[in-house]
Amino acid sequence: MLSIRNLNVKYGQIHALHGISLEVETGRVVAVVGANGAGKTTLMMTLAGLLSPAGGEILFEGTALPKEAYKILGRGICLVPERRRLYANLTVRENLLMGAYLRKDKAGIAADLERMYDLFPIMRERIKQYAGTLSGGEQQMVAIARGLMSRPKLLLLDEPSLGLAPLMVQFMFKTIREINAEGVTVLLAEQNAFQALDMADDAFVLETGRVLVSGSGKELLENPLVRKAYLGVKH
């Protein structure tokens, strides 16, 4: 579905991604794990069109991606950014409606709002609240729901477990699998390597802007290199 070939991204002089290549196959959950500063967010922002590559190729369903972020969403790729970034000045419902901005099917949007309230039942009590007043976990739910409202083919999640309590992290990963089961391909960036590898079908380990190893999630969990570098510290 998505193939990235020899992707290079720079911030001025800082070379953040050094020739990354990776594949995301339709229907799978793919994790990109790596320490803070490895380049996960840079990769996600580039895929979503907020950063432009200095070189390399990104093909989605066989064709190159448009340059502008809003057109990329139109192609079916939606990024749920790091730290949620909800519109604090809008209500929860308005945040979700923003997710459906490009859609014209009123009835479909209303039905999807209901689906989101079923997926995250706490959200139903919060629809009229300003998003800025929610707890971290609730904000992450709204952020994911806002992403889903665009009915993406590929959902990009940047650190969905960041700053969440352990129980909430479990719930979030469980939900990501549910979303995937409904047919959405997921590309997930995580520092929380153990749980991300455990739930992902395929995975890539990123280190200072390069792919260190790749394989199935289970394989990487067993990989001594990965165990030493990332799983030494018990989560």
């Binding site: 519109y87 604090a88 000045n89 809008l90 923003m98 901005y101 700053g163």
Partner: protein
């Protein structure tokens, strides 16, 4: 006397509010004070004057022409002066400098082409009064008051309820995420400038009718700027409250103290308020919860 002063104050406050809302709209989305706005208002007044006096259009049509004309000019202002800066991700200081340059350019363009002389709208309409239980208020004031509040109410409805309105509020909080949600930001910003320009057309027209039309009449938007800052820059309810408050207070100062100290009063009020409430009455909610 009191009621009459209040009504006159509300009328001028309505115009201040319109201008302050125009300022705030742009500020809320691009985070800079668009000092070219005064010149757009001035051009709106000229457009209205030409439409009504030179071409003999009825007032309603002249206002419409002024709205459309100023809307287009304000949109063009963004395309030519700010869009290139936006592409380079320039800081708001550069936007402000560019805005001042635009303002100087437009004023001098008017001097060079139309000239420095003052133009008056026909007296008839401006000077006729409505009498009611000993209160006398200008027809123009009533008209300005009603029209300003209807325009602001309509804009508010649009921002609160429509899909595009929600997107404008979203962009005022996080423009990058807004583009992730599929919003064409360049088009949205163009629309915001067009809307601000439309408000400039209305206020320019009423200012021209109430006072006179001349190349530097845009200075009066200093008042709108004060009103917007009093209300909290970027906040639309703040702009409305700030504008009305300033208009009413000023009129009372003119009526009960002296019109000479009026402007001194406005600026003092601003300084005092900012000392007490640095973000204005309705300062923007910017807290990020992680």
């Amino acid at each position: 006397m009191f009621t009459q002063t209040l009504l006159t104050g509300l009328a001028i406050g309505g115009i201040y509010a319109l201008m302050a809302v125009g300022y705030s709209l742009v500020f809320s989305i691009l985070n800079f004070s668009n000092f070219a706005y005064g010149s757009i208002i001035m051009l709106g007044a000229y457009i209205g004057y030409y439409a009504m006096v030179r071409m003999g259009m009825p007032i309603g049509l002249a206002i419409a022409v002024s709205i459309v004309g100023s809307g287009l000019l304000c949109w063009l202002n963004e395309r030519l002066a700010y869009a290139p800066l936006r592409k380079r991700k320039a800081s708001s200081l550069f936007f402000m400098i560019s805005a001042m340059g635009t303002s100087i350019f437009l004023e001098n363009l008017v001097y060079a082409t139309i000239g420095a002389r003052f133009y008056n709208f026909p007296e008839l309409f401006a000077k006729s009064n409505l009498e009611f239980r000993g209160i006398s208020i200008g027809v123009l004031d009533v008209f300005a008051m009603v029209f300003s509040f209807v325009a602001i109410y309509g804009l508010n409805l649009f921002l609160q309820k429509s899909r595009t309105g929600i997107a404008i509020r979203a962009a005022s909080y996080d423009i990058e995420v807004c583009s992730l949600n599929g919003v064409n930001i360049a088009a949205l910003i163009g629309l915001v400038f067009g809307l601000a320009g439309a408000l400039a057309g209305i206020s320019g027209m009423f200012l021209g009718m109430k006072y006179i039309v001349y190349p530097t009449m845009g200075w009066i938007t200093n008042k709108a700027y004060i009103a917007a800052v009093i209300g909290g820059l970027g906040s639309l309810p703040g702009a409305v409250v700030g504008g009305v408050l300033l208009g009413v207070l000023e009129t009372f100062v003119s009526a009960y103290v002296s019109s000479v100290v009026r402007d001194v009063f406005s600026f003092s009020l601003l300084v005092l308020l900012l000392m007490v409430m640095p973000t204005g009455l309705f300062g923007r909610f910017l807290e990020e919860k992680v």
